[in-house]
Structure formats: C-alpha cells, structure tokens
Symmetry: C2
Subunit: 117 residues, 2 copies
DNA sequence: GCCGTGGATCGATGAGTGTCAACATAGAGG
DNA sequence: CCTCTATGTTGACACTCATCGATCCACGGC
C-alpha cells in the first residue's frame, strides 16, 4: 500500500497535505458531514437528492452546492437514473482519511475497502 | 462506547455533526495538517514552536494562529516549559475522527484510545 | 529592575465560502 | 413539441478566514 503513510509516522509532504486537506475541508462543514453520513447510512448505500434535501432547512441549490463540493473532493460520486440523481460514498476516500488519522497498527485492510455490506 | 457511532451506521445528529465538523475544518488546511503531522511524528511526541515555524514560509503570528485553531479544536494541547511552548497531539481526538470515518467493523478498540506508545 | 528571546494577541486586508433567488438543464409523459 | 418535476448552475451578498506587521506578555539571565 504505497498510498497511506499514517500521520505521525513521518511529516507529510507539502502536496500530500494539500490533497488530504481538500478532503478534510470538505468534511469541515456540519451540513456536508451530515450529508455524507446520510448517504453512507442510507439503505442500499445510496441516496437520491430528494431524500436528503428535506432533512435540512436549506434551499435545494445550497444542498446541491454542498454535494458538488463533496463530489469534487472525491468523497461522493453520483449517478443519474431517470429523473433522479443518486449519491454514493467513495469508500476508499473515507478509508484513506481514517488510515491517515488512525494509529499505524489499525490501518484498514484492503480486503475491506471495496466490499461494503 | 457512547462516543463514537461510526459514520454510515446512522445519520449524525445535528450537534454531533457540529462538533466533528469543527475538528475536520481544523484539519482542512494544508498548513495545519502538516503542523499536526510534524507534532505527531516529532521525537518524544511533542514539538516546540521553534521547531515548527522554520518549516513554513509563513510569519510567526500566522503559525501561532494555526496552532491556536488546532488547540481550540481539541486536536493539540500545549504546555509551557521555561521559555518554550511544547505542543502535543490529543490521541483521543484523532482516534475519534478515525473511528467515525472508518467502517463500523473496524472501529478502534477503546483499549487503544488513551494509550499512545 | 532591565533586556532579550520565544510566543501570543490585535487590527487590518484580501481571498474564500455559505446562502439564496433566479435561471438553465435533463428526463418522463403526454 | 410542451410541460412538469428533479437537479444543477449563475450571480450577488454577507460573513468568515488566512495572512501580515505591530504590539504585548512570560520567562530567564544579568
């Protein structure tokens, strides 16, 4: 696994830190964090925008904007099916962040990354 | 473990998300991410500000500001010894974030949270 | 007490961000 | 084609943030 030297093993390089911080910044907003959580915990591992919007007292364009930020950070991916757009989490991205934060001994086994219940 | 329902198990409550997002936001800056990494990987688990500042092409007040943000987010703690101020990571905080991000099956054992080498 | 050094704080400024209303786009169904 | 519904995009505005120079505080040494 050449991708995930855990934080604390050695200082991050500058561009490495840049990539990671873009993902952390995307999670650094309560609305976006709840969006990721709602998508991740939704039945089937995916949720359509119309499932997410009513949970917030925000306009639909604002939710759409937050979803775009998460998408561009690589944390979420979307697929259009008919009229609706379904969002899924990108498990590898979450796992990468978790691996960086977590102690080295607990790095996520690759066998678990793609499989998601 | 009342503190760490992993993201993906159930949607985050609003204030829970607020707390977590404050920590993620603190990591959402390349300078702060590198600061945490440098402190975490420094010999003895702590680093003095004079060890950190020269690694960046930023003024000393700016570094001090970033350290304050990390401190107020609960990710770093500091202690004054003589003339110098030493910073350490708060392992429980990093572990909490890692546990939230990681798949449920891999949640960090509590036995590892407080103990950090 | 008086400096000198390591850090923190203050005030200002330019860049970035969250939010909305208004508009644009994409399928579905007539 | 036309219209309706579900989403994305744009432009604008207020608010936050990263950064700096100047200043202030805490220690240690004289």
């Amino acid at each position: 696994m050449p991708c995930c030297p855990p934080l604390g093993r050695e200082p991050l390089t500058q561009d490495w830190a840049g990539d990671l911080s873009r993902m952390f910044k995307a999670l650094g907003d309560p609305v976006r964090l709840r969006l990721v959580s709602m998508v991740a915990s939704h039945a089937g591992g995916e949720a359509c925008v119309c499932d997410l919007t009513p949970a917030f007292e925000l306009s639909q364009p604002t939710i759409s904007h937050h979803l775009k930020v998460l998408r561009e950070a690589g944390l979420l991916e979307c697929e259009r099916r008919g009229t609706w757009v379904f969002y899924r989490v990108v498990p590898a991205a979450l796992a990468e962040l978790a691996a960086v934060l977590g102690p080295a001994e607990l790095s996520v086994p690759d066998s678990l990354l793609p499989a998601r219940s």
